[in-house]
Subunit: 203 residues, 2 copies
Amino acid sequence: MSVAIEFWFDFASPYARISAARIEGLTRGKPLTLSWRPFLIGPLLAKRPGQASPFQNAPSAQARYRRRDVERLCLDEGLPLVWPSTYPRGSLLATRVAIIGTGQGWCPVFARAVFEANFAADRDIAAEPVVSEILTRLGLPAEALIAEAGSEPVKQRLKDAVAEAERRGLFGTPSFLVGEELFWGNDRLEQAIVWATSYPRAS
Amino acid sequence: MSVAIEFWFDFASPYARISAARIEGLTRGKPLTLSWRPFLIGPLLAKRPGQASPFQNAPSAQARYRRRDVERLCLDEGLPLVWPSTYPRGSLLATRVAIIGTGQGWCPVFARAVFEANFAADRDIAAEPVVSEILTRLGLPAEALIAEAGSEPVKQRLKDAVAEAERRGLFGTPSFLVGEELFWGNDRLEQAIVWATSYPRAS
């Protein structure tokens, strides 16, 4: 029996980027079906005034700490890190493209490339030429996909994903769902996998 | 060479309680000097409107999640959990007593007993009889210590601890300091220990 684990991510999140780099290795060979679920956390954060991304807030001890925390985690994981010169980067276009990819098998490879562009190369992933370049590099039809990303059906699929995230209790990114059991944060990835592989009856 | 690691905790925090149950086992046998640093997080949270403890906020997806998260972590650690019927519990008296204990060697055993009273037995640790009972059970002079906890020198020591926490960049509990390298959250306890034992020159 294969248990489903869903990886919900927003391209603006450095913690989601770390999970994106880890999740395939951690789930490989396990009786798990991994789904990459691109969405936008912004619309959910906007409903919680005063609780927006800590990275967006005025400089504070916590904001300084979080950058340091991400630096240390990337160091531990062997991931290059160049802090995005604009933060958070707009992830709308890349997320719509990723939504198309979920139906065509190339979402994971595209998502990892977008995360690396944002957090290892300081590229502006909100810009169409950058997304186009990534798609081309992956051998995907960039022009057609970017046009499709602006179509109503794809826009609606992203809106539906955000509504689903809210309905299922998500409030941050990355999040992992095993059935309706929610795990929030890169820190909980291992726990979610243990849950999915060991506790399927308990959930 | 023994590296110092400081464990900063507030008795109201369920995550600090989990760290208190884990830290001695994780540091034992390592070239580390562990200091238990009782303090109050409230005065620091009060300076960040809208960013108070997520447990204090109105019911939200995140608040519900955090209770579930604590439940799962306690399950994983084999720690009993009875959610405090009042939350957060006032930790002023117990913290002042713990401050006395830091100079007399019994802070860790007292602190663990207070955490268990709060989170495993739903006792009101803000109440003097409860603190008194814990001290007596540990063979400590309860009456004298509670009187001393109300003295100006002890009050001042706690104020100094809170000021030190703020000066050194703390914004949550539990926190761990290795020199001035800050680690926040029970999730970062292992990382702090690795840092202290492997990266002493890098810090």
